[in-house]
Symmetry: C2
């Protein structure tokens, strides 16, 4: 099972990566912009497990849709995620010099190029869906609506804004922390589940179930992240542990304590998996949920 | 005539501004992001003559469409333009502290907020069209395609990228300068004309004529800008004259000399107006063309 799961995950990731690269290819008409295209390729290639696009493809599949129907939405969402990482690393934001062990985009290409690569990536994400094949105009607009809502001031960007504001405060409440995390991490993960269902033409009820799963997965994912920042070793994690505490950041651990945080993550995982039980052919998604929430890095 | 023209221009601008502000209103769900919304409002309010959205509305009107049909596209385009100004002024780009006599967005709100306000504005532009009323799904996708193409790496952002690269060179050719300017300034102006025609459901031939007009207008506009930077006084211009030459920047003036640049601008103006003659009810657009290309500031 485990080997089969890993194999399927890697296969999906590799298919996604092939399609992603096609969106940032340097064509003759944009030869003069080659450097920014290179920066876009660099950041897209440095991707992790491609969780978000994998969720899009999988929810589409279990709702009876084809991979081709969902691929543009999957790639668009991964481009949105990548754009956010590029801009988040910039000096005026988190000022991170490294991303997944490699120099961050602005360290490799300069802040001006990174800013523009992020901007161009955001536009490319929308363009990927606007020009997607195989979908009716109505379907595309539903997908575009989900994408825009999840990305904008009420979604991921909104979450980043809250996060920046919270860093300057020491009295962030659990309710506020959850709202921030639901927007910053949750919005794209929920969107992934909804995009997959919508691409397949699933019912409103089914899409709402997937959305609920995404909300629980997103929140649990962040709590597990906060726990690992304290309990893991930097060898396993690939980045310094305890960095949150050092920066005096509010996390689910500072708000709940280790035991309660662990319980909350376990409860959310259980609830997320229970929601998946209402879908057919859910073995891969159940394994993915465990992989994400019972990880040690 | 002149008074009537100015009155109509101000009326259109005021209608556009009312709609623009509705897109960046702080609703209960985004109360926590109020600061970024405020930054977005600040930059949208600081707008100039609203040339791009006015072109959208006017081309829609003379192609037989209603203002309501074109308003979302007009606002989306102005938001794209405003996003580009916010990011262009950032320290890693042009590092401009002032924009139209007021502190630029990052001076007023900080670079982190300005970066995010630009990002959120770009998303809001697409969302405005995605959620637009009165248009069929097919029509919206046509408009979205024009918007994405004009904004991305092959359009305005591509032009900014070229511009940054050219600043480090002293051997920019006329052909390169024209390509840069056609992308950086021309892409959105051409898109304005195409969006208006498309919103009205105009024929491909008619839309292509409007696009040609936009290309000539955009190029002429930039040449006039370059001329004014040398021949105008800073009192009239509202910014220091001769700043291009001081920075050693390649402009149409350094490439062509004053006399040839003036001739080229005059020729383009004439050609642009000739293209307008093929449209009915063109009095306002003819006057606008003169206003933009025979200006002294």
């Amino acid at each position: 099972m485990e080997a089969k799961f890993q194999q399927h995950l890697e296969q999906l990731a590799s298919q996604i990566e092939t399609h992603l690269m096609a969106y940032v290819r340097v064509t003759p008409e944009i030869q003069r912009q080659a450097k920014v295209m290179e920066a876009m390729q660099y950041s897209l290639e440095a991707g992790g497990k491609r969780i978000r696009p994998v969720l899009v493809l999988e929810f589409c599949r279990i709702c009876g849709g084809s991979q081709e129907q969902a691929m543009a939405a999957a790639c668009a969402l991964e481009m949105i995620h990548t754009f956010s990482l590029i801009h988040d690393d910039l000096p005026e934001m988190d000022n991170d010099d490294f991303r997944r062990g490699k120099p961050s985009c602005h360290k490799a290409f300069g802040a001006d190029v990174a800013l523009q690569a992020g901007d161009a990536m955001l536009v490319a994400a929308f363009a990927a869906l606007i020009d997607a094949p195989l979908l009716t105009a109505e379907r595309k607009l539903e997908l575009l609506h989900i994408l825009a809502e999840a990305t904008g001031a009420a979604g991921m960007i909104g979450g980043q804004i809250m996060d920046m504001a919270f860093e300057r405060r020491s009295d962030v409440t659990l309710e506020e922390q959850e709202a921030m995390c639901m927007a910053k991490t949750g919005a794209l993960i929920r969107a992934a589940c909804r995009l997959g269902c919508t691409a397949a033409g699933a019912s409103k009820e089914r899409t709402a179930l997937a959305d609920k799963y995404g909300a629980k997965l997103g929140l649990a994912f962040q709590i597990v992240d906060d726990i690992l920042d304290v309990t893991s070793s930097s060898d396993v994690l690939g980045k310094p542990v305890g960095s949150d505490a050092e920066e005096g950041k509010t996390t689910f651990l500072t708000l709940l304590g280790l035991k309660q945080a662990q319980e909350k993550a376990a409860d959310l995982t259980k609830e997320a998996k229970a929601l998946l039980e209402q879908f057919p052919e859910n073995a891969f998604l159940l394994a993915l949920t465990d992989e994400l929430l019972c990880r040690n890095k």
